[in-house]
């Protein structure tokens, strides 16, 4: 019995050895699964250990056409802190140094520690305490920094503006939103990108190319060194510099003249399509949208009822009023509706409309040239009537109106010109479908005769009006207006070097420019005449649904080999001749002479100080 038991117990060694072998097999199988079958762990290990630190390139700088530096980068200082390194310090002294209240300090610390607000929080990794400290504040803090262990300064760059002007043209940069990140994989949370103006439309050129530095990070998030001595690092590529077509001096002068007014001044070089100045009033100093005050100031600008963030020069759509008449005249001539010899009578109004639209006293009957010079309403109404009601060319009024619209579109109306600024508006040129809807298919020239004088359904942007003047100056073609002259030495996009010809013969442009010259020499806009250059122009007084009429002027100079085209629009300025014309004269004088002659200094002061604000604001 004892031997039996002994034998039975000796057999138990097999159980023990078998158990050891089974465990070994289970372990090896588990290791095989973890190390060979499942690849997920490898990816986790990489994201654990590698910190891909982005190296930000410096953003391209912006110059004006005379190589004046407009926008550049300036160091700013972010205050960082590492929680685990903080030792007791004089909190009040620190608050005074960075200019915040004690409560703000406590609140900020609480925000940093809150993992819901700050998901990446670690006590061992630098956290942003305050961003974009100015150089002065930095100087104060720097002296005392030794007293605050755990606080560090991290350099970054912010945009700095040399001039307080052209805020809407230059635009500003801000943090990307979710949509930007979804649209362009280049961005990550916290990146900056151009939010408006050139900063936005040339974002991809200005931003450069981010670099990356692969660092090894330990379990507490501390950096332990470069991976493979930087073999996988990529250096950042700086953004390209832009040279604008803008003349900053002219722009600043335009903004000065437009102060306390609402409206726009656009000047284009007809020979190239380059925009020399693009004033939208009211405006603001671009530097207020930089740094720590950006959020507050942006909210303030957004809340302003005058909408200073709204770029009226490319986004504002206005009835052009009489400044539309050159385009009308060109259309009538081009379509063969009238000739230079065609005379229409004017009896202080358009007879088929029962004397409406009204007109003012001048010789009658008259032909196209004097009609433009005196801005006769009746002439263009007769012309439009002839074009829309004459069945000889096209059978229906719809087709005749659509023909009219096509010509207008060729001249750059009713569509986006393609200016290199974001959010350009197309304005409006009506087509037959629109009137079919409005008048249930039964309409004729009488229903829509106000089109002839740039009222009713016609809406244009100031840049489109200036483009009309440039096209007339060029006698039949225009270059798409653009704000950027060159990108780091290479010329503008090829889209801006193509001549866009309209469908109208060069000779007719000659006739219209004579009419516009006549307006300056003896017509509605004598006030724009300059002694040393032949200015051509056209005033406009456009009715608005409420308040006084908009005061508009378009023109170009000199008549032969024109150098500049201009459009001025002052909302509720009244007659074109009273506000827009003198402002245009000052702008042209500034352009040609570089300064205002002493005898016109008075005008400069007068129009600078002149306040024309919408009634609902005042």
């Amino acid at each position: 019995m004892t031997t039996n038991i002994k034998y039975a117990l000796e057999r138990r060694r097999y159980v023990l050895v078998a158990a050891v072998i089974v465990v070994a097999i289970i372990f090896i199988a588990r290791l095989f699964y973890l190390q060979v079958v499942d690849h997920e762990y490898k990816a986790w290990a990489d994201s654990n250990a590698f910190l891909k630190k982005t190296l930000y390139p410096s953003r391209g700088m912006i110059y004006d056409r005379k190589d004046r530096l407009l926008v550049y980068n300036q160091p700013a200082y972010d205050v960082m802190l590492i929680m685990s390194e903080i030792q007791p310090f004089d909190t009040l002294d620190f608050c005074r140094a960075v200019g915040i209240a004690r409560q703000q300090f406590d609140q900020r610390i609480a925000e940093i520690k809150d993992r819901r607000l700050n998901p990446g929080y670690s006590a061992y990794v630098p956290q942003l305490f305050m961003n974009q400290l100015s150089a002065q504040d930095y100087g104060i803090l720097q002296e005392k920094l030794y007293k605050f262990p755990g606080f560090y300064i991290q350099n970054r760059t912010i945009r700095e503006y040399e001039y307080p002007n052209a805020a809407l043209v230059l635009g500003n940069i801000g943090q990307v939103n979710k949509q930007d990140i979804a649209d362009d994989a280049y961005y990550v949370q916290g990146d900056d990108s151009g939010r408006s103006g050139v900063e936005r439309s040339y974002e991809s050129v200005l931003r450069g190319q981010k670099g990356v530095e692969v660092l090894l990070r330990d379990a507490r998030g501390r950096i332990q060194g470069k991976y493979e001595n930087g073999a996988y690092d990529v250096a950042p590529v700086s953004g390209k510099n832009l040279t604008l077509a803008l003349d900053m001096e002219l722009q600043a002068f335009g903004e000065q003249l437009m102060s306390n007014k609402v409206g726009s001044i656009v000047m284009i070089e007809p020979a190239t399509g380059e925009i020399l100045c693009l004033v939208s009033a009211p405006t603001f100093d671009p530097s207020i949208l930089v740094g720590r005050q950006r959020g507050r100031n942006h909210a303030m600008l957004e809340a302003d009822p005058l909408k200073p963030l709204f770029d009226r020069s490319v986004m504002g759509t206005y009835p052009p009023g009489s400044t539309f008449k050159p385009a009308m005249g060109l259309t009538l001539l081009g379509e063969g509706v009238i000739t230079t010899e065609t005379h229409y009578s004017c009896a202080g109004g358009y007879p088929p409309g029962g004397g409406k639209p009204k007109c003012h006293g001048h010789a009658s009957p008259l032909s196209i040239v004097p009609a433009l010079a005196t801005s006769c309403n009746s002439f263009f109404c007769w012309g439009l009537r002839e074009m829309l009601d004459n069945r000889r060319r096209y059978p229906t009024v719809q087709e005749r109106l659509d023909r009219w619209r096509d010509v207008m579109r060729d001249m750059g109306f009713g569509r986006k010109l393609g200016v290199d600024l974001p959010n350009e508006k197309s304005g409006q040129i009506p087509n037959s479908r629109m009137y079919d809807r409005m008048h249930k298919g039964r309409w004729a020239s009488s229903s829509i005769i106000s089109l002839a004088i740039g009222q009713g359904e016609v809406l244009t942007t100031p840049v489109q009006l200036c483009n009309l003047a440039a096209t007339i100056a060029n006698k039949g073609f225009f270059y798409t207006p653009h704000i950027v002259r060159s990108i780091e030495g290479t010329g503008p996009d090829s889209a801006y070097t193509v001549r866009n010809y309209t469908s109208i013969n060069r000779d007719y442009y000659e006739i219209v420019s004579q009419g516009m010259r006549g307006a300056v020499t003896g017509g509605t806009c004598r006030g724009v005449a300059l002694p040393y250059v032949d200015v051509c122009g056209k005033t406009g007084t456009a009715q608005t649904p409420f308040g006084k009429d908009n005061s508009i002027f378009i023109g170009f100079a000199p008549q032969e080999q024109p150098e500049v085209a201009i459009a001025v629009l002052v909302e509720h300025g009244g007659f074109g001749a009273t506000v827009a014309v003198p402002i245009a004269r000052l702008m042209l004088e500034k352009y040609f002479k570089g300064e205002i002659t002493p005898e016109h200094k008075y005008h400069e002061q007068y129009y600078t100080n002149l306040a024309i604000m919408p009634r609902n604001v005042i």
């Binding site: 038991i5 023990l16 050891v20 070994a24 290990a45 090894l216 332990q224």
Partner: protein
């Protein structure tokens, strides 16, 4: 004297010694990998971990020399004395040890830190071997169990009071030796079944397959199968086996067929079968007048009772931090930054090693300290990451061969003292391997115990060295006589 000296050396088991040297060397290189830093003080500098481990390895060889020089009888003669001394040391430790990371198990002597619990393992093994090798000793009465269990339980209690529950758990390895020496297999079976059922029923507690609770079903099925196997092993009867197996499968097949028409809980079928089995076991025991069938029935009933009390025990008896630890190991809680962080990072480190590993000192996870305790308890991570599947498997195989080798040598002993001691040694290595590597690869709960010969630390290295070489000295004596 000189002739005896030569015989000790020539009679040593070469295979075990080679495995020992291999594991200690691999362990040292792993510590180099685990503690390598960018600002490393150098491997041979004693202030760094590789340097100090090297000193301990050197001192281990001195210890080995001393052990081999002693007379083989020395160990059985002084077994109780050593045991008493160690227990005294353990008790002193409870009161004088400072609190280091919540543990009060370290004695500080000058600049040295010693963990007496590591030395208690061979002391308990010696004392048990001495007690159980006494002439005429049989592990078959109450008194012998009480004394043997007291010998094991005393250090366990001391170590638990030092807040080192993990180390204390390792003393359960002695039950494997007790099993070899005559303890009923049902005790081991019961213990292991209890752990398995506990894990299964918790892991699948809220998992339902249609309306069948998976955990409950699994445990019931296992109980059923085990009951069948035990009953069969008592009296093999192939016809009976075929009828039982066929009946069970038929019942489940009917159940599957029934789900076509009505959705129901398969646990009902298991219960039905269980009742039939119970009835049959009662019938068998009455018919044959054999109580063993009633014991099987008892096993079955206890298992089922255990299954239905797990939830209660888990929710009401265990403390919350134990609950979370167990839950994380069972994969019930996904909490990579919390309690499961260690296991998760250790799996990432091992998994990232791939088939051949990243190479010595190239492990990013261990080098950057993602794995906590990586030079001590989680040292196997470093092997897995830097040496890959190949290296890790070789380490597992080396340990397995060493353990089996010791079992084989133990069984060869004519001297009962040496045999029992040998079983203690093998079982201790086995349980350490099981729990440590199991923890690192995420199969067992996180219990802070060292991997023999690998983990950084003098106490653990010396404890295991003494444990192993006393046995090798005893084994050498076998051939001397």
């Amino acid at each position: 004297m000189s002739s005896k000296k030569t015989t000790v050396w020539s009679n040593l088991d070469l295979a075990s010694i080679m495995l020992y040297v291999l594991l200690v060397t691999a362990g040292w290189f792993s510590i180099c990998g685990a503690s390598f830093e960018f600002d490393s003080v150098g491997w041979f500098n004693p202030s760094g971990r590789p340097g100090s481990q090297l000193i301990w390895i050197g001192l281990s060889f001195v210890l080995i020399f001393v052990i081999l020089m002693l007379d083989a009888d020395f160990f059985s003669v002084f077994a109780y004395f050593v045991y008493a001394a160690i227990i005294l040391l353990l008790i002193i430790t409870i009161f004088v040890a400072p609190d280091i990371k919540g543990s009060r198990s370290w004695l500080i002597i000058g600049t040295m830190r010693v963990q007496p619990a590591e030395f208690a393992k061979f002391a308990v093994a010696l004392a048990l071997a001495k007690y159980m090798s006494a002439y005429g000793f049989r592990l078959n009465n109450f008194k012998s169990y009480i004394i043997a269990l007291t010998m094991i339980a005393t250090p366990i209690i001391c170590i638990i009071m030092q807040k080192e529950a993990g180390s204390a758990l390792m003393f359960l390895a002695f039950f494997l030796m007790l099993y070899r020496e005559g303890m009923s297999g049902y005790v081991l079976l019961g213990g292991i079944s209890a752990m398995t059922f506990f894990v299964l029923s918790l892991k699948y507690a809220d998992v339902f397959f249609y309306s069948t609770p998976v955990g409950e079903m699994l445990v019931l099925a296992i109980v059923q199968i085990m009951t069948g196997i035990i009953a069969y092993s008592i009296k093999p009867n192939s016809l009976q086996l075929k009828i039982t197996a066929g009946g069970t499968l038929g019942a489940y097949a009917l159940g599957v067929g029934a789900t076509m028409f009505v959705e129901f809980n398969f646990v009902w079928i298991a219960w039905g079968l269980m009742l039939l089995t119970a009835g049959y076991l009662v019938y068998l025991s009455v018919k044959n007048w054999v109580t063993r069938y009633l014991l099987i029935l008892l096993f079955m009933l206890l298992s089922v009772g255990f299954l239905y009390s797990v939830d209660y025990v888990f929710d009401n008896v265990l403390e919350p931090h134990h609950q979370t630890r167990i839950k994380v190991v069972l994969g019930l809680e996904d909490d990579p930054r919390g309690v499961g962080y260690n296991v998760n990072q250790s799996k990432i480190a091992i998994g990232s090693g791939g088939f051949l590993g990243k190479g010595f000192l190239n492990g990013t996870q261990t080098k950057l300290k993602y794995v906590p305790e990586q030079a001590t308890d989680f040292i196997f991570c470093t092997v897995g990451e830097e040496e890959g599947f190949v290296g890790a498997t070789l380490v597992v195989i080396a340990f397995t061969i060493l353990i089996i080798r010791i079992y084989i040598l133990a069984e060869k002993q004519k001297n009962v003292f040496a045999r029992i001691y040998g079983h203690c040694v093998a079982s201790l290595f086995f349980v350490h391997l099981l729990v440590n590597i199991g923890m690192v690869v995420g199969l067992t709960p996180v219990i802070g115990i060292p991997l023999p010969f690998f983990s950084y630390g003098g106490s653990s290295l010396w404890g295991f060295t003494i444990l192993l070489f006393i046995f090798l000295r005893l084994d050498a004596a076998r051939k001397e006589r």
